[in-house]
Amino acid sequence: MSAAATAPTATSSTSAASRGILLMLLLPGLVALVITFLLPLIWLLRASFASSTMSAFGGGDLTTQSYSTVLFDPFYWRVTWNTLVLGFNVAIFAVVLSYPIALFLARTESRFRGVLTALAVAPLLTSSVVRTYGWMVILGDRGVINSTLQSLSVTSGVIKLTNNSFGATVALIEILMPYAILAMLSGFGRLNAQLEEAAAMLGANRFKVFTRIILPLSLPGVLTAALLVFVLAISSFVTPRLMGGGRVFVLGTEVFNEATVTLNWPLAAALSVMLLVLFSSIILLYQRALRALEA
């Protein structure tokens, strides 16, 4: 880095030298972002119209064959449906289970508040592969739940909790909960204990305080959390693949399969575009909902 590039100019100036500095500041980061973000999306779109993996990098005829596979093959209807069902189930349960924790963290006056917050979001910083393994241990055929039930003689056989969508759903709920908690915590700023006290003093019971004051005020945070969990769930593949044991088919697992096993890159690209469209429409819907809520 040159000395000039480091000049801490406090205000905007339009001299040529200053423009040169600006360019040098911007260039490395922008080049990295273009190569790792912008180009990949353009290449993805191009590859989704390629006729074969060999011509996925340009050249060759353009065809909509991959899209007609994605849109008209009943197998991919099933896959898309599975993906949406997984997303909804995970979003609903993750939000319901995270809500009390977020509410608790937002208003506790415990001196362990910092530790408890860290504990709630710390799982975010362990690899999802590791936490998926944890759920394989808990839900597996010889795992915690099955062996406990058997030793208590509740069941004699094995209850199938993994290698199906149940296992994938449970694991994803837990894995995505920290995101929900974080999203709610930053959305709970409008909650106000004095308001609740006032309502209680005026004769509202606990239930009424919750439904009339706490819930409406925390709804934007809840919506954000639900959206975040939903979009992360529909684009996940490590957890559905490992917990599903190859028997759970969602968009994520199929993209991975086409990209690395079948090596049908145009189809992998078309499925990714499909996922991206789904992703963006959900975000747009969310923005509409949020605006309606605030109006």
Partner: protein, 264 residues
Amino acid sequence: MQENALLARITWNTLITLLYFFLLAPIIIVFIISFDTRQYLAFPPESFSLGSYVKVFHNAKFISAFWRSLIIGGIVGVVAVSAGMLLSLSLVRYKFRGRAVVNFLILAPFLVPHIVLAVGIMLVIAPLGLLDSYPGIVLAHLGITIPYTVRTITMSLMAVDTRVEEAALVHGASPRMVFWRITLPLVRPGLIAGGVIAFLISFDEATISLFIVSVKASTLPTEIYHYLEYSTDPQIAALSVILILISVGVVVAVEKLIGLRRAL
């Protein structure tokens, strides 16, 4: 009435405890099972020993993948912080046309699912011969880490009083000296936090890595993933505990430096 309040309080606290237990269950269970040494997955452990940890340290595949992950994470951290520092300087200290575009480019990777980015990056670097290579995986991780470093560094940079820099300039310090002696030390918490987060994301990332690397540049999460496809023995639990301890160490460090919630 008072009894009712007490009951409600107890119910509420029990609920919170149970939810915390659910949230931390996989980590707790992995910790317990890591002291088992049987060849297959079963609960509860028959006996407690450090056998699985010994096995991990003798597993050449895991050890070399661990070092690779460490090196890749380190490079990603340094590059993402450097690029992030420059981008933050330009965004905080300059007003220029196209600023909105730059801001959007920095935020946009948050809005695209990792698996979609993964396929795209694979398509970009495959013809360059960078699949399963160090430059390939470092590049792949830069796009998802630079947004975080820009965020932490921008926050630190905005808190810097520019009058301090001006004062140093007036008193004869060269711009280079001001940058190294004043600006950089003042934003150090943001730099360290950004670097640590970038390292951790790279170190733990599995989705994008699985598309980019296979054998030569495989990282620890991808090795664990491939191992789990065929076997679930306690060796993975021991390895997981080691990884979790590294993460916890990093979390504690970040919390001490700038506070976890601000960093994320």
